[in-house]
């Protein structure tokens, strides 16, 4: 009970208010769900019990939110007769990390974890990032629409807004340093009813508070922009919105960190954390036990589970699945930017997505928003795809379901507070948490990383003495992309290396040279799906039908293994056996 007592002491000044609020919440929840138990826990409110209906769990969780007096909702109510899917774990087991004593251990190779890794690599520290999947950016950071958010829909006092605006501002430098293209295309937000334009003054005042510039768009302007829209009530335009490839950004952040001395271990899962109630002592992984000075939790949909193991859980992730459809580049006529629709609630998760022209010029529809008890439920459903077309068909009749080339789903790491957690733990002194990061997490990640880096230096007692490395390399040298070169540059490049002349992925026009570069990049990539995220092979309209066999061969040649060993993704081998 040590943790509980420490938390109570830390939150002593608000205990009285907490008690008042707690009693009210307890009463409300227990009157609705008499078999749920509500109790104070670790400065927050814990609910436990069993429910028949998942919605009851969510309702109770939402009722327990008190952002002023409570640290958060700890919702331990379990769904009856539901077999919770366990965390996907890597197959590999070895001792490669046994006894490692990094200054900083980061759990999670999404955009937040890698942004932190890069930020910390500016200092003379021993940094290790572990990611349980076979590659970076396999969860929210790739199952994502890649928007750099303008922040108009965020609450002025929220951390989400704070980090979003700071992150948004950092993107231009980051784009240049890491050679990750971004486009500041702005965002159209369409009104969905006649009366909404009346509240424009309120939206305008919100935009001033949020420090994001907008302009009003009349019905006529909307009509001129989207000639056959059914949603012709006017709208607003947000200047600061932009687009980026979130997975390329994640990979490049990590590459930059690795070049600057940070270490990365893929296929490495945190299995157990040893804490003594005051600090984290060690982290057991499938590759040995690690003894970090500071532990950073950036583990996305699993962040509450990691928090619990580390000794300071005060929030709950309730996964929210989103599905997105990817349309052929030919559908790009629909828009060259981002089209959203106005929602009164101001909660980003109720928007249900928009129409986005991605940085790679496909049209993306979505994401939808469906609560799901399973954290890694990344399956798509027929109904959800239909919803996307029904909804966005209202915005423009130009959307043609026959232009869909693929679709995907992912789960957002939503907390009941619907707020980011970015803090040094008041309970476990060497634990720093970046949790509950969902939309606008991609935008916010670089800003979150700045603060997490500060907290880390504090936890290491280095906030005053830490020195920036003088040999930190901010600019990442990246391999060429042939279809972005001029004819002369391309010709010269091919004359240096003929592999750049051989086109392997015909839909996206990717050369053999680029594939070899990606395979041998600072963070080597040996899977078909990993290459997709880096160079877009197989991302086009044939979805790898032509190039997958060729790339399989190239990976085998480059890595010196049999084609039978080549994987689509971690643990997913493409071929079974030789026939002859």
């Amino acid at each position: 009970m040590l943790i509980d007592i420490r938390a109570r002491i830390l939150y002593n000044n608000i205990m009285e208010d907490f008690n008042k609020s707690f009693n009210k919440i307890k009463e409300k929840i227990e009157s609705l769900y008499p078999n749920f138990k509500v109790e104070p826990h670790n400065g927050g409110i814990r609910i436990s019990g069993e429910a028949e209906d998942y919605n009851d769990i969510l309702t109770a969780g939402n009722l327990a939110v008190d952002k002023v007096n409570s640290r958060g909702v700890i919702n331990d109510v379990v769904l009856k007769n539901h077999e919770y899917k366990p965390m996907r774990l890597p197959e590999v087991k070895d001792n490669s990390l046994e006894g490692a004593k990094p200054d900083v251990l980061i759990i999670g190779g999404g955009i937040v974890g890698t942004a932190i890794m890069r930020e910390l690599s500016r200092f003379n520290l021993d940094i290790l990032l572990i990611e349980k999947e076979y590659d970076l950016a396999t969860a929210q950071s790739s199952r994502n629409d890649g928007m750099i958010h303008a922040g108009i829909d965020l609450k002025p006092t929220s951390k989400k807004l704070h980090y979003n605006m700071r992150g948004n501002a950092l993107y231009d430098t980051l784009s240049k340093e890491l050679d990750v293209p971004i486009r500041r295309v702005g965002q159209y937000v369409l009104f969905t009813g006649r009366l909404q334009k009346l509240i424009y003054p309120f939206i305008k005042s919100r935009s001033r508070k949020n420090k994001t510039s907008i302009k009003f768009l009349s019905k006529e302007k909307i009509r001129a922009k989207f000639p056959s829209t059914k949603l012709n009530y006017g709208g607003i335009f947000c200047y600061k919105a932009g687009i980026v490839s979130p997975y390329l950004m994640t990979v490049r952040l990590a590459e930059s960190a690795v070049i600057n001395g940070a270490k990365l271990s893929l296929n490495t899962a945190c299995l157990e954390i040893e804490n003594n109630g005051e600090s984290v002592v060690s982290v057991l992984t499938n590759r040995g036990r690690i003894f970090p000075k500071v532990l950073i939790n950036a583990s996305g949909v699993w962040s509450d589970k990691i928090a619990e193991q580390a000794g300071d859980r005060f929030f709950t992730i309730h996964p929210r699945r989103g599905t997105e459809a990817v349309l052929d580049k030919k559908a790009g006529v629909v828009t060259n930017s981002v089209i959203g629709r106005f929602a009164f609630t101001g909660k980003s998760h109720t928007k249900g997505g928009g129409i986005i022209r991605t940085i790679d010029e496909n049209i993306l529809l979505g994401p939808t928003a469906t609560e799901s008890p399973d954290r890694e439920d990344e399956d798509t459903r027929r109904e959800e795809l239909q919803v996307l077309f029904k909804k966005h068909g209202e915005v423009t009749p130009l959307l043609d379901p026959r232009q869909v080339i693929t679709y995907f789903a992912g789960t957002r790491a939503a907390s009941y507070e619907e707020e980011f957690i970015v803090e040094r733990s008041p309970v476990i002194k060497n634990l720093i948490q970046s949790a509950g990061i969902q939309s606008p997490g991609v935008t916010a990640a670089p800003a979150i990383a700045e603060d997490i880096a500060k907290f880390t230096l504090q936890a290491l007692n280095l906030e005053k003495s830490a020195v920036l490395k003088d040999n930190f390399v901010a600019n990442l040298t990246t391999p060429p992309r042939v279809n972005e070169l001029s004819l002369e540059e391309r010709d010269a490049l091919i004359k240096q290396n003929p592999d750049y002349g051989i086109i392997i992925c015909r839909c996206e026009e990717i050369s053999k040279g680029e594939i070899i570069d990606a395979i041998n990049s600072p963070i080597p990539c040996h899977t078909l799906d990993g290459l997709k995220r880096r160079i877009r092979t197989g991302m086009g309209r044939c979805q790898g039908g032509f190039c997958a066999p060729l790339i399989t061969k190239i990976i085998a040649e480059q890595t010196g293994v049999s084609i039978l060993e080549v994987e689509k993704k971690g643990g997913g081998k493409i071929l079974f056996e030789k026939t002859k």
Binding site: D379, I405, C542, G572, I574, F576, E577, T579
Partner: protein, 466 residues
């Protein structure tokens, strides 16, 4: 960057491209074939099964053999230049000169080509699983029939051991047989429509011969498994291709192969702003295959998806001869539409004749004094009678596969039995081919295994090993 001029440029070195080039060069004008892959032949390179050329050559050739005939002609034709591993990155028609300008990426740099005539012979691509609303996860083991064909036939490796196939188009059916012969189990072929979409002869010789079940009005709706396919969900469909709720069933498998249609590849045609036909997804053309853009032609599967390569070559020939200023050749005898037996009397056994793509459905019965009574063979076709006789006594099939070579250029070389062999010997011959290795250069048609299993039939090479 070199600029080279030709009278005609053909983009695509498959059967359509090669034939149009051959015909266009007949008048003595220069022709360039641009091929993005390492070798000419297009998709025929991986179609090692037989059945090609029944109209043009009156023979059941394998894909590489059919392509090989054209490749030999192209090689001999001094007017034709071939650029392989040459990928068109951009093209336009110069309004002033009326000529086409083409930019291409090759191993030696960017090359620029100019021509008066342009033939688009880019072929087609496959519709993917996602394009037919297959949901669930996206693991390894979910692939198109064409990709599966490349893995098996060109790379000599099986992408699965327990395979479900969606789509009863010819590629799907042929892959069912290829998988089975090469040692995988095909659990079933599922077809969302109420009728199979492939040729009857393929239903017969690819599925019935190997007891592979065909499930009509059934489709695959979902894939399970994170890293590798673990199972698929199937469901019944209505005539309007809607899923019938409550009919879902889970089938354990490690691979889902989809063969759900082909789409003409016309990204280059679209760049040239050529008028397209929304029905075929290919350009609108004249009787000489000329598109809405003067001097630009479209042939082969880029124009529309063809059932028979013979028709592809014929269309390409029309375009090529027109470019050369030559009159069109008289058409070869056309195949009739396949019909079912409509005689008054029903007798004997129902047999699908696999001799030609007609796929006649025969009624056949052995007569007491020897000989056979056959009905349903169109025009009293003699090959149909012969087929029925064998089918009722010793069913005979041509076996196609490939053998290993020690030559780097062709690691696996396609082969077939020169004539048909008894059906019950197919797997025994496969065993022999497993251990057969070619170590020296060999020409198409040369004998790889003599008198295989004492059948009196040789196994011959259907491609070139060099």
């Amino acid at each position: 960057m070199n600029i080279t001029e030709f009278k005609t440029i053909v983009i695509g070195g498959g059967p359509a491209g090669m034939q149009s080039a051959l015909s266009a060069s007949e008048g003595g004008d220069s022709v360039l074939i641009i091929e993005r892959e390492e070798k000419l032949g297009g998709i025929l390179k991986q179609c090692i099964h037989d059945g090609f050329g029944v109209i043009r050559y009156n023979e059941k050739l394998s894909g590489p053999e059919y392509a090989g005939i054209d490749m030999d002609k192209v090689k001999k034709d001094l007017n034709i230049t071939v650029k392989t591993q040459c990928f068109v990155t951009d093209l336009y028609k110069d309004e002033k000169t009326g000529k086409f300008k083409i930019f291409a990426s090759t191993e030696s740099g960017i090359e620029i080509f100019v021509s008066k005539f342009l033939v688009l012979a880019n072929g087609c691509r496959e519709r993917t699983a996602r394009q037919v609303q297959i949901h669930g996860s996206r693991p390894a083991g979910l692939l198109t029939a064409g990709a599966a064909q490349a893995y098996v036939n060109l790379m000599g490796a099986l992408p699965g051991k327990n395979i479900v196939i969606l789509g009863s188009g010819d590629v799907g059916l042929i892959m069912a047989r290829r998988f089975t012969l090469e040692g995988a189990k095909v659990l079933g072929v599922y077809e969302a429509g109420s009728k199979p979409s492939g040729l009857m002869r393929n239903i017969h010789q690819c599925l019935h011969d190997f007891d592979i079940p065909l499930h009509l009005s059934t489709t695959v709706t979902r894939v399970f498994g994170n890293r590798r396919v673990e199972a698929v969900e199937i469901a019944k469909t209505t005539e309007g291709f809607q899923i019938v709720a409550g009919t879902e069933q889970i089938i354990s498998c490690d691979t889902l192969v989809v063969s759900v249609g082909l789409i003409p590849e016309n990204e280059l045609a679209e760049k040239l702003k050529i008028k397209m036909d929304p029905k075929t997804n290919g350009p609108i053309v004249t009787e000489y295959m000329e598109t809405s853009l003067k001097n630009c032609f479209s042939v082969g599967n880029a124009l529309h998806v063809h059932d028979l390569v013979d028709d592809v070559s014929e269309g390409a020939e029309i375009a090529g001869r027109y470019i050369a200023g030559l009159p069109p050749l008289k058409n070869k005898k056309r195949i009739h539409e396949a019909t079912e037996y409509e005689g008054a009397e029903v007798f004997g056994k129902e047999i699908v004749c696999t001799t030609c793509p007609n796929s006649c459905i025969l009624m056949a019965e052995l007569l007491d004094g020897g000989g056979v009574k056959v009905a349903g063979n169109k025009g009293g076709c003699k090959r149909g009678i012969k087929f029925a006789q064998y089918e009722l006594t010793t069913p005979m099939r041509t076996l196609t596969s490939y053998v290993k070579t020690t030559r780097k250029s062709v690691p696996f070389a396609s082969v077939r039995t020169e004539k048909e062999v008894p059906k019950d010997k197919l797997f025994d011959i496969m065993e022999i081919l497993k251990t057969t290795v070619i170590k020296t250069p060999m020409k198409r048609g040369e004998v790889v295994v003599e008198n295989v299993l004492n059948t009196g039939v040789n196994v011959i090479l259907t491609t070139e090993v060099y």
